[in-house]
Amino acid sequence: MPGEASMSAAIIGAAEANDIGYPQTPKSSLTLHIEAINNVCEMTGIPIKAIDGIFSAGWSPQIAEYLGLHPKYIDTTAVGGCSFEMHVHHALAAIHAGVIDVALVTHGEMGFSQRFTGGKGTGRPFGGGDPWDPGTQHTSAYGLGGAPTSYSHALNRHMARYGTTQEDFAEIAVVTREWATLNPRAVMYRKAGEGDLPPLEKGEWGGGKRGHTFGGPITVDTVMNSRPISWPIKLLDVCLVTDHGGAVLITGPELAKTSKTPPVWIAGAGESISHWNMLEMGEFTKTSASRSAAAAYKMAGMGPEDMEMAMIYDSFTVTAGITAEMLGLAPEGEGFRLWKDRHAAPGGRLPINTNGGGLSFNHSGMYGMQLLVEAYRQLSGTAEDGGFSGDPGKQTSARSCVVNGTGGSLSTTGTLVLVSDD
């Protein structure tokens, strides 16, 4: 029996900013937000002024002010990359409760371009570490900083506990790259200078149709031979650092009928947290996705066996591998097999990360919006028609998708079960 809120709202459109990946000219995070919002409203035919609920990872007051909106529901949940899946959960609840009619979930992040602006334009919605904060106080002495320095501990634990290998996880990067070679929007779509492509100019980063120095297909050896970052994590186990903007609109059934683009129904939603600082993580091979997924499946009245595709946060290969286990898509210790045995690959029984993932498509720091946009594109058929961006990208015939965001240091998770319109 599905829960009461199941199917009471739908994502009626999803769009990205005009420039994603490695733009030639930096745009501020705010601009990336606004471009995506404008695009999703144009795509659906729902005017910006109809938005009465704003959901973003820390940006909602700025977005409301910038657009001259006076929303009735303001949500700034910012708990890392899964924030956007949680926003969809919260928007579903708010619409189901009759509090709002049109929810905007929005994202803008200049993960790539900030290196050229010295941090200007990022908005810095997050505070720094307070030296008295216990997580900071009892970990800062040991120098761990960037996300790879902590996620590597989970990969090593998985290898020790289940006898898995670095090569097993490399398979995830290889298959995900294969998907990217089918997506012209993906940074790693193809290799620069190949065929009749002109070589990249000095200082040009490329990506997408322009090609990337390290783009195109890779093998397990390519991953294994990439430089060590935080053993056992190597460079190609790690996601990209890009720019991205994205926005989705969510409404109830009546307004969904007025959209120019088809609804993708929110059958189930759930969220959870196991810790914030990795110091407080329990068993390092398990995440709260088991709890957030249980809630989402319960609301949907569906289970992992009903899922025809999956969008799984892949900040690192280990994130995807472990999460597949937590979502019930594979037995514990065997998540990587979905990729190694090619079930997750193009033509497989359970396509995973059809956009090329955070590993090879785009990862701006928080990747949850990219998951939503791709799930919408696949389930709505908008990608089939060339997509709103004008690029093809309908890769699957899937009509149901489990979407799982992971935030922090394997800390927070948001899970959605999305289904196509009948």
């Binding site: 008295w132 040991y142 320095t149 501990h153 990795m278």
Partner: protein, 140 residues
């Protein structure tokens, strides 16, 4: 004493007994007076039973490695640690319960297979400043 160039934690009123113990080479841990469980990091409330009766006890300083990683990338680690890559960070399961983050001493970062998850370790303290002695762990 040579100048300590890596980050030095800032003790706060809640954690002060831990740092006081560290100066004497003792591992002091907060323990709940009601459920008797030890927790880490220090809190004013027990995370297991939510009692606010917390006392400090001297621990054995023994533990085992829950997991570890080898930090290779200067750009991803804090200032001061960049000069020490590769180095081995680890999460330690304390003999008394719960877990600490640390850097392992006396291990070979270039041979991670020689380091054992589940292996026994012992705490030691390094004087970073007059007030702050930082705990590190070493395989026994």
């Amino acid at each position: 004493m040579a100048e300590y160039t890596k980050p030095i934690p800032s003790p706060d009123p809640v954690s002060q007994p831990f740092w006081d113990g560290a100066k004497e080479g003792k591992l002091m841990l907060p323990r709940c007076d009601d459920c008797n469980r030890v927790h880490w990091y220090p809190r004013v409330i027990c995370p297991f039973c939510h009692s606010m009766n917390i006392e400090w006890v001297e621990a054995t300083g023994k533990g085992t490695i829950h997991t570890f990683a080898v930090q290779h990338n200067k750009g991803l680690v804090a200032r001061g640690w960049g000069d020490e890559v590769p180095y081995v960070s680890a999460y330690i399961d304390l003999a008394e319960g719960d877990r600490m983050l640390t850097v392992l001493k006396g291990v070979d970062p270039n041979d991670p297979e020689s380091i054992e998850i589940g292996g026994a370790v012992q705490i030691e303290f390094e004087e970073a400043s007059e007030d702050v002695h930082i705990p590190f762990w070493r395989p026994v």
